[in-house]
Symmetry: C2
Subunit: 481 residues, 2 copies
């Protein structure tokens, strides 16, 4: 493009746009060996601005969707990365410049793209019902070819998706292959409507329940157990009027309470009950499970909205300490007469991009894999204040039992657990971690033994370039066509 | 691959293999503007190891051929890079490891590839007769698709190429569109035979002359003027016996003299006359021209072979000072009875990867564009001893009139001159330079005004990754299909 990216932290240094499409066949294994048990593809999805923003600086979650794949086979791994051909991307590429404006604010767009799809497909990528779907909560899913990573097109579940949006965090029931998901702002930007869906193992929508929340809010994730569904309504509120006046879609409104809407997975939604508590914020669920009438929601909870670019409604300055997310258990008692939920911090470390052994999703479980900043491991001269470690948290004891330190001048992206075998116990397997080499303008893919995170890596794989994702998922070869 | 690259200077730091194939559409212009007069494609070709060498360390000239393209249009530039599908590359990729051994030594190969084409297509890329050819002096050319950079296949000039090899440095006569070239070791590795060809503007071979040199040697480049052809025989000698015993193809034999074979372009080669001088080495010709019976050969001349990995026959240690190449004029007087040539150093700075305004090739000329190390511009803390500058050398006065300093922790690759217009005077135009950002693991493409190299760049274009080439050539859009 003819103008440079803004000289702001969003685009500087290691955050600089990558903008690359291509492949590296047979990545270099610089340490150890890749276990042949790793047989499948790690798909990842992230945000990378293709063009400088239309209006000055921007927020990283407004970048263009880029999907990447690490395909493991016979102790080798191939890498491929490709931008999603959203309508936005295709239009802007043809114009060789940005045409769409601020995050989720259609009023800020170039008039030439009025009414066009603003979806960026930049958050998560999941495999279900024989389709690979790139997800962004503000739009419908985009189907991606699992081999070439080429874009197939928007996917509306054979016209059964009545929502204009789909969460980037669907849940999967490992026992029956169901995908559970929802759309928020389901009738358009800032509309309060939520709609919940279940899709069977073949990808067919089998249930649709519309929900009327206490107020319209950012709903990034939700909870599902074997028996219940939990909607999280927290005071990051949206306003069309504010956007029309040039403001952001979201502000943090600490005058409002947190609402947890709990309903049975097996009913029609008429049993939905709202539990309330103090203002809180959650981006990501770790896991949820039911114990009889007790519904447990484990997630990374902060006292305030943790993105500094969404302002406080009352003008309070952003407080990084209050924005720190800690693994916390909320419990709703369906037998209780109280409308409150119980809150208990499991571990005090600030963290995010948390994962579990997905085979135990929706059930009582023991382990979380938790990126955090290990201040003790920080070395002289290392100014990196980001997440430099990934720990194995025992959620039963609250103890961070073991952790991998990425090294000085390094940070970690969201980890991915892969079981050693289908029969392996919970947490017995490998942890895949992308390590950002902050001083080398590139990344490593590190394979750890999940039973021994502080031990020598099983393998360290060199990427000659940076790669960037927000979330990703492992798909075993047997599941792919 | 399952084993890492050796921890040697060949593969360390900025020299680390890149191994990437892909594209970056519409590169970021971080400074200035791209002149719309730049309308065409800068093709480049280099060596990048896809797999760790079969036997320990290796020499960089044995890497796999990678071609890249910067396509300029309407003030934008798109980048693409792709490995050449040589037979070697295809076989090794299928095996996911190296199968071919040492540089030009077939005895060092895995037996499974005996008799296969060892060509790497890793040195230069030229456009002639409607074909884009990737070149390596040890093999025949490989045709490349000028848009996709996909490999079309080996090109033998409709079976008219009788040599097994073609130089990576053909010459072009701008007035008639002829391509002049030769093959050395034309009948197989270490054979002394040289064969000279002329091909017309349509790519048809119209002349073939076999030449018997005084001894078999490495012949990387040659000279052509409007009226003469000059073969350079210098004491980097080859030996099949030595290779069979595990030695290198080449050694430096300072006991031998330099021979310059001069013949008319317009005859049948029977007038070929050898001029002799002290042992010298030349990788690259700057330009040659005839003034009546005087034939001038301007090149970068060193006292010894300048690749440290080809040993001295007499066991002398490599002397970097004697290996320094300086722009030097050799003159052969066809009316003289003496068999000697005259040598005159034009400028004392060590240099390489030298270029001119190609429109004045084969003729009396004024300017060379010369990468060199500017010690004065070197800054505190900058340990880079490579070429950090590109100068405009007036070959008539010997003066380095002006130069571009790439900055601390930076070095330059071979420059490319592009005229401001077809009618512009010699040297009036743009100089394209890839700058290696040694501390950022990436490159910039800098566009300079060739009339003001020390002034602010016309544009600086950011590459988020490294790119690597040995040589390249500009092809105007009007010449492409």
């Amino acid at each position: 493009m003819t103008k440079p990216f803004p000289d702001t932290p969003t685009f500087a240094g290691f955050n600089a746009p990558i903008r690359l499409e291509g492949e590296i066949f047979d990545l270099e294994v610089v340490e150890g060996e890749i276990p042949t048990a790793l047989d499948g593809t790690w798909y990842r999805c992230g945000a990378d601005f293709y063009f400088p923003p239309l209006h000055g600086d921007d927020v990283f979650v407004n970048g263009d969707g880029v999907v990447s794949a690490f395909e493991f086979r016979d102790g080798h791994v191939d890498f491929r990365t490709r931008f999603v051909r959203t309508e936005k991307f295709v239009l802007e590429r043809a114009a060789r410049k940005a045409l769409f404006g601020a995050y989720r604010n259609p009023f800020s767009d170039d008039p030439s793209v009025a009414g066009k799809n603003r979806g960026t497909a930049n958050t998560n990528i999941v495999w279900h019902g024989g389709r690979l779907l790139a997800l962004k909560e503000a739009a419908r899913p985009v189907e991606i070819d699992p081999v070439t990573l080429e874009t197939i097109g928007d996917w509306d579940f054979d016209a059964r998706l009545t929502s204009l949006t789909m969460t980037a965090h669907p849940k999967f029931d490992p026992s029956i292959g169901e995908m559970l998901f929802y759309g928020s702002a389901a009738k358009g930007e800032t509309t309060p409507d939520i709609v919940y869906y279940a899709a069977d193992a073949d990808g067919r929508i089998t249930k649709e329940i519309w929900i009327d929340p206490p107020y319209a809010s950012m709903m990034h994730d939700f909870g599902v157990t074997k028996d219940h569904v939990i909607f999280l309504v927290m005071p990051t509120t949206s306003s069309l009027e504010r956007m029309r006046e040039g403001g952001p879609i979201y502000v943090w409104d600490e005058d409002l309470e947190t609402y947890l809407g709990v309903m049975s997975r097996h009913g029609d939604g008429s049993d939905l009950r709202w539990f309330t508590g103090p203002p809180r914020f959650v981006f990501h669920i770790l896991n949820c499970f039911s114990e009889g009438a007790l519904v447990h929601i484990d997630s990374a909870v902060s006292e305030i909205q943790s993105f500094p670019f969404f302002p406080d409604k009352n003008g309070r300055p952003f407080d990084p300490e209050r924005a720190k997310a800690r693994i916390t258990r909320w419990t709703c008692d369906l037998t209780s007469n109280s409308s409150g939920f119980v809150e208990r911090t499991i571990n005090p470390l600030g963290c995010e991009l948390i994962r579990i052994d997905d085979r135990i999703a929706l059930s009582n479980y023991t382990y979380g894999f938790i990126p955090f900043h290990d201040a003790g491991a920080r070395q002289a001269g290392d100014a990196n204040a980001g997440f430099n470690s990934v720990g194995r948290l025992n959620v039963r004891t609250g103890e961070m039992e073991d952790s991998f330190f990425a090294g000085p001048n390094a940070s970690v992206q969201e980890p991915q657990f892969v079981p050693r075998s289908a029969q392996a116990q919970e947490g017995d397997g490998y942890l895949l971690v992308i390590v950002n080499r902050l001083d080398q303008n590139r990344c490593d893919l590190v394979i750890l033994d999940a039973n021994s995170l502080s031990g020598a890596p099983v393998a360290r794989i060199k990427l000659p370039v940076r790669t960037r994702a927000i979330h990703g998922n492992w798909v075993a070869r047997a599941e792919l066509p």
